[in-house]
């Protein structure tokens, strides 16, 4: 048998701590408990105008519990993982349950519903922790240099930074579930600034990130792209108020997909904070729209081998060709709604709640460029600003930046406008979906076009 890796040893020690805590809780006569314990390492370095700005390095750990006694729930967390510390912590947490009111629906899943094994999703890169500050700084410097080199119009830099993190965590429940998982993530970010003729600053931002170090784009490419984005927005101005077709590039598009994600979660539905609350089985989007939640993507940024309650996870089609098929549910929200849990819980060790894993709009066949075809006058959105969305009504209105579309071409940069339309109508107005889906973020989307939105400008 192979010797345990460093990672496996860390997980074994976390599991010991979790089991110790469960035992300590059991002595207080609780009905149920879940314990989450994790340990993380992080490095963050940044440079600006070639000089080192920050080197930050740390290791952190923490433990959190949710417990039920007489059907009453309490949650608590601590960073003191010593045995004496944990015993005192558990005693205080048990007392807190007295404040809550009995809520039998809050009980964890039946032990029969918990998984004993799960797939290996390749979420941990052993190389990540070994990237030291010197290497990170070199990458950041390279990226920033590339930004300045890409255009003479780059006048300043917000800086470039590299960060990495790794985490190991264990979830143990009184129902007998013991899950161990680990993951890594690293990213490189550059923000370059160009000046307009009038002296107005135009920032350009670009980043690369991934669970594996080898997935990162080259630093010089990241810096160059940030610079090109800043330069492309020089001279940007409002456009005239009107109702026009709008194309979202894949980054702006995921902002829209994220809003839908928030409206299909069990908590939002039972709290009456979703305009989709009574819409399962009905048309909520155009036939071009298929939305998927897939926790099982290898190396996926939002992947998870089991859910936050120890249930099996699986790929779910939430909306198929415009028809809403299911919500994403943890145990509690499923019980409140009289539905079956979908294994979508996160927040184990606290109050579990449904969350998306890798949630995306399925790619279509169009090329991104073809989305602009036939648009006499429209808006190409690359970035949205502000928080103008009401999940209860679906009303949507946010600031937008991008480019004016005239006769099927991007003609000049636009900023300082808002785009508005109720999300329900917006989704039903999606008339073309492009093929440029990438899983760089846990919520992802290809570019798409909406037949009409209100643009408010001059």
């Amino acid at each position: 048998m192979a010797r345990p890796t460093a990672s496996e040893r860390v997980l074994a020690s976390l599991a010991d701590t979790a089991e110790f805590t469960l035992d300590a809780l059991a002595k207080h006569g609780i009905d149920h408990a879940e314990v989450a314990v994790g340990i993380g390492k992080e490095l963050e370095v940044s440079v600006r105008q070639g000089e080192v700005e920050l080197v930050k390095e740390a290791q952190s750990s923490g433990l959190s519990i949710r417990l039920m006694r007489d059907d009453r729930v309490a949650t608590s967390s601590t960073t003191d993982l010593s045995r004496e510390g944990l015993e005192a912590f558990v005693a205080r947490a048990v007392e807190m349950a007295e404040i809550s009111e009995p809520d039998p629906l809050a009980a964890p899943p039946d032990p029969k519903e918990l998984v004993r094994s799960w797939p290996e999703l390749d979420l941990f890169d052993p190389r990540t922790d070994r990237i030291d500050a010197k290497r990170g700084l070199a990458m950041a410097q390279q990226a920033e240099r590339a930004a300045f080199k890409a255009s003479k119009k780059i006048t300043a830099s917000e800086g470039a930074s590299f960060s990495r993190s790794s985490g190991h965590s264990v979830l143990a429940t009184s129902g007998g579930f013991l899950g161990k998982s680990s993951g890594t993530y690293q990213s490189l970010v550059v923000q370059a600034v160009a000046d307009d003729e009038g002296g107005k600053k135009r920032p350009g931002y670009f980043w690369t990130g991934g669970r594996f170090f080898s997935e990162l784009e080259r630093p010089s490419a990241v810096g160059r792209e940030a610079a090109l984005r800043a330069v492309a927005s020089i001279g940007s101005a409002k456009m005239k108020t009107g109702v026009v077709p709008v194309v979202f590039d894949h980054e702006a598009a995921r902002g829209i997909v994220g809003l839908v994600a928030g409206c299909v979660l069990g908590d939002a539905v039972y709290r009456q904070r979703s305009y989709l609350g009574s819409r399962v089985g009905s048309v909520v989007a155009s036939p071009k729209v298929t939305l998927v939640d897939d926790p099982l993507i290898e190396r996926g940024p939002g992947s998870r081998p089991y859910d936050g309650e120890g249930r099996r996870v699986k790929k779910r089609t939430v909306c198929r060709r415009g028809v809403l098929e299911t919500f994403l549910l943890d145990t509690y929200s499923a019980r409140r709604l009289g539905l079956t849990p979908t294994g979508s819980a996160s927040g184990g060790g606290g109050v579990p709640h449904a969350s998306t894993s890798n949630f995306y709009l399925k790619a279509g066949r169009s090329t991104p460029a073809s989305l602009l075809k036939g648009i006499e006058r429209g808006l190409y959105v690359t970035r949205m600003m502000g928080y103008g969305f009401d999940p209860t009504t679906g009303n949507f209105s946010r600031g937008a930046e991008g480019f004016l579309i005239e006769h099927g071409e991007k003609t000049r940069p636009v900023s300082g406008v808002t785009i508005s339309r109720n999300l329900d109508e917006l989704l039903q107005g999606i008339d073309a979906v492009a093929n440029d889906l990438v899983f760089k973020t846990s919520i992802a989307s290809p570019s798409f076009r909406v037949d009409a939105m209100t643009v408010a400008g001059d």
């Binding site: 809550s100 830099s157 928080y387 103008g388 209860t392 009303n395 600031g399 300082g416 001059d458």
Partner: protein, 468 residues
Amino acid sequence: MSGPLAVDHALSARILSEALARGGDFAELYFEYRRAASIAMEDGKVRTAGGGIDMGVGVRVVVGASVGYAYAESVEPEDMMRAAQTAAQIAASSATVGPVKIRRRRLGDVYPVASELVDIDGASRVALLRRADAAARKFDRRIKRVDASLVAVHKEIMVVTSDGYSAYDVQPMMRVSISVVAKNKRRTETGSSGGGGRQGIAYFDEVSPEWHGEEAARVAIVNLDSRPAAAGAMPVVLAPGDSGILLHEAVGHGLEADFNRKRTSNYTDRIGKRVASSLVTVEDDPGLPGSRGSINIDDEGVVPKPHRLIVNGVLRSYMHDKISAKFFGKRPSGSGRRESFRDVPMPRMTNTLMSAGTEDPQDIIRSVKRGIYAKKFSGGQVNISNGDFVFSLTEGYLIEDGKITAPLKGANLIGNGPDALETVSMVGHDFALSDGMWTCGKDGQSVPVGVGQPTIKVDMLTVGGTDT
């Protein structure tokens, strides 16, 4: 005691010496002990009671504008020493720094709290939420659901600096939030209300739980009759209090000195220049009694003072932390803040306020032929490098022929900070501080802030609505 005072000056001095073992301009230790208690009530039922303790120390070593940072989640000497050694890596000389002699700085207290909410028994805290819940439901039969929460935090910090000072502060915080759903035959709408600050149970003597319940209900009922907002550019009257968030976002961030040191703010090189209408005077005041943004000491150990940022339209000063102050040859303004011991401090706002003018608020509304009256906001975002901002309205009205008329469906205000301030044409005499509910985010760090302003009229802002 388990707080930062458990670490004595001699031990702090040893850790600081270790942090500066490879040189550096200065170093500081930021001890934090944080105890939180929260209650979440869902639809009239306490779903969960939570709480937790967090404790640790952050060690920072500064060389020029370069920062080495590390933290330990305990105050065990060996853990703190290790953090000091990690932070020290930023410096690379063989300089040795002798032991530091530390004196305690005496501080004033603008938020003395006799009875902190975090220490009040659970049943009493639940009772407060019940009162809000009942008031909201009683307000109108169309109120169908009430969610309420109460979060209380007791935080102790101690900052020890290598120039030989320590400062200790207790920073209490509480916040109540009520959120309701109203329904009629056709529509479902929501409303919310919240408040708090660096206060204790006494807060509720000033602002009752019932008030918050009724206020949340009132907004939801108003929104049942709202209609789509107009789209396009028009005059906007900002109501007193909460609208200060617009000032915070659109102007405040651009005046944080780190952005100006980096030359990425639109206010770079503008000190002494006119940046707003002459009616506009803005200050950042850390000393408002009990306010959410107030601090007795900043997170770098500097005693903060109120500082005027814009006076009669002319840019007077930036907000400085130690690094930017040194760069600009100024004294730090006590604006160095951080979310926790895990984070580096940077220039941040405390309570950002626009001073009162002389106009009668009614006259301001009467002066608008067709425009918007903006009363409540859910939040905003700014592009710091050029001041472009977006704010989402949760309560707003149409102004027609000088009168407030129909309520509007959530719309956005979009504009540019400097441009908007240039077109401020009327300022009311009715200054009001927003009840404490705002949290400011910057570089991933959240800190509580306060905002306040009188009624003001901005001649032209773009309103994002659907009605063209």
